[in-house]
Subunit: 355 residues, 2 copies
């Protein structure tokens, strides 16, 4: 009950000086920085009298951006949050309907938090490759893909607010790539982050899952991974690659990715928890969003079994199977996100990661 003890002690301390229990976050340190990335140098000499000519000038890009907050009496391992496709660090901040996200929830639970914008996204927009960004009307696709419902219908039990202002905030929290997605570049930057901050726990969402696994392979300061609804990017040892999983999902069949056994084994050295929400098909179906995530969940189960067969500690939790219903692709910001946070806290405690 170390966590409870800490929270209680902090509350007593705050109450004793008239600061509102529950309603304050006492921050020891906070700030932001760029991490990782590369640099372009245009050959030639910089001419101060022709300063708009590129010769002799540099362009730094492909870095990640991190905003961090360390509370007083912080626990040993901070949480590093990596967003998914089309998202940014906003994923972990205020929810679409204005409640607190995992950033605040885990700050209040005395964890340091690092919120990342991956390279070529959000505040880390400088890309060393060109990109054209076009406003494609596609939000009803995302509504459906992210399992809020089958547009325009909400799933009856969905843990997503059904008012239009919340849905508008949800749509506006997406932000485009300013250069092509490069998972290896992402994991390089996140691995460098762990070199800078030391040991910690990596929390990934969706497309962030793949780079998350590679981050742990590249840096043993990653002490655990919690992955919310990873889809692609599951890594298997040579000769243990499973058959692709066919799906009516719009991304087609789902394949694993082969890596050297020596790399795979690194993922057997840390505890891993993977969570999936509700309204995912149990059997193949033509309902493409439910079938897309069926293939992801099935691959995750095969992957975890492979990790564990090699002596690892991976757990896949399909939330409805433990009585938690209605979650979308964004469990950490759904209406029941405190329940989802409690699950993660309990797992971290079980693994001795919340000291």
């Amino acid at each position: 009950m170390n966590k409870i003890y800490k929270i209680t002690m902090l509350s007593v301390l705050l109450a004793s000086c008239g600061l509102r229990k529950q309603n304050t976050m006492v921050i020891q340190e906070q700030g932001s920085f760029a991490i990782g990335g590369t640099k372009i140098f245009e050959p030639g000499n910089f001419d101060l009298n022709n300063a708009l000519k590129p010769q002799g000038q540099t362009f730094h890009g492909d870095h990640a951006y991190a905003f961090y907050q360390i509370p007083v009496k912080a626990r040993k391992y901070p949480l590093v949050f990596l967003h998914g496709a089309g998202q940014s660090k906003k994923t972990w901040e205020t929810t679409p309907d204005g409640r607190e996200g995992f950033q605040n929830i885990f700050l209040r639970r005395s964890f340091g938090v690092y919120l990342l914008d991956q390279p070529r996204r959000g505040e880390a927009g400088k890309s060393t490759v060109a990109a054209t960004i076009t406003p494609n009307p596609d939000e009803q696709f995302w509504f459906t893909q992210f399992r809020i419902g089958n547009y325009p219908d909400y799933f009856p039990n969905v843990q997503f607010p059904k008012d239009s202002p919340a849905l508008e905030q949800f749509f506006r929290q997406m932000t485009p790539n300013t250069g092509g997605f490069d998972g290896n570049m992402v994991s390089d930057a996140v691995a460098q982050l762990f070199d800078k901050i030391g040991e910690g726990i990596l929390i990934t969402h969706s497309q962030g899952g793949g780079p998350g696994w590679f981050t742990a392979i590249k840096n043993d300061k990653v002490k655990a991974i919690v992955a919310y609804e990873p889809y692609s990017g599951f890594l298997f040892p040579k000769d243990e690659l499973p058959q692709p999983i066919k799906s009516t999902g719009l991304f087609g069949e789902l394949k694993g990715q082969e890596i050297p056994l020596s790399d795979f084994n690194k993922l057997t050295k840390i505890p891993i928890a993977i969570y999936y929400g509700d309204n995912i098909a149990k059997e193949p179906t033509k309902v493409w969003n439910k079938d897309h995530w069926r293939s992801g969940l099935e691959m995750a189960k095969i992957w975890a079994a492979t990790i564990n067969k090699h002596g690892g500690d991976a757990r896949v939790v399909h939330l409805p199977e433990i009585g938690i219903n209605g979650n979308t692709h964004f469990p950490f910001s759904d209406l029941n996100n405190v329940v989802i946070a409690d699950l993660m806290s309990k797992w971290l405690q079980e693994k001795g990661l919340d000291k």
Copy 2:
């Protein structure tokens, strides 16, 4: 000494419960949201079976993003920070050499802070117009334009760290437009922010200055403006437009902008402070960066005189004239940024804006 009193009381409270004086920020509330913006609707009906076709789908964009923190015992008026060209809310966060920026400095002084990404920038990347982003090597230009020095030379007295890691962080904090800059769109979003949060004080940097003036014209909840090195976007009443100011700066001559007297008069109802740093020419010169900012400073003085002639309260502070030397285009993150913050605190107190 109301400010000092508050800080002292808070310190005593914190000390009394074992929290480190100076080194903690006690946050009552923090979060983020999208504000303003528009929506594209593609005519037709959404087809769940062809969900990637745009017909019947929406695209929300052109909003601003705001991250806010409200400390306990917050002062009446929060500070709203609007960045300049090529920048984001990072402008106000950790400095390139890892010191605290205005975000933390003013949180510690009990102000609520709102850090904005303007529409089509950073976390607010969704743009309703297309854009192509290219990695143009131009950082030695920016080093010079922003008056760190005349590349590769630093100005001898410059208040910018001379180590390369700091310069790299400075270069990496720039982030591109994901759509064309639209000052009217920016001021619309910031004006809507003030409708949401109520009365407050607007702090602008550089290109943010122009949208800043229009925000105050659009919304009387803007109780004061502090503008750091505004360049373009100075607004004059019909028939009072000054002659353009010629400059060897790379942006050429600087013009004022004509607006109706009724709008101009709204800017005479609030206190306005404008600050410029060092290494700005006093007379026309061929040194283009020093001459660029000479034209900006001269226009600012003409503008403030016009505001005051109409009964307003505008002050232009050229920092070297009050003995503060070496500041770049980013005084709020320069090595002496606490001195710069003290100046702003003192001005807010003089105007009764720090209650």
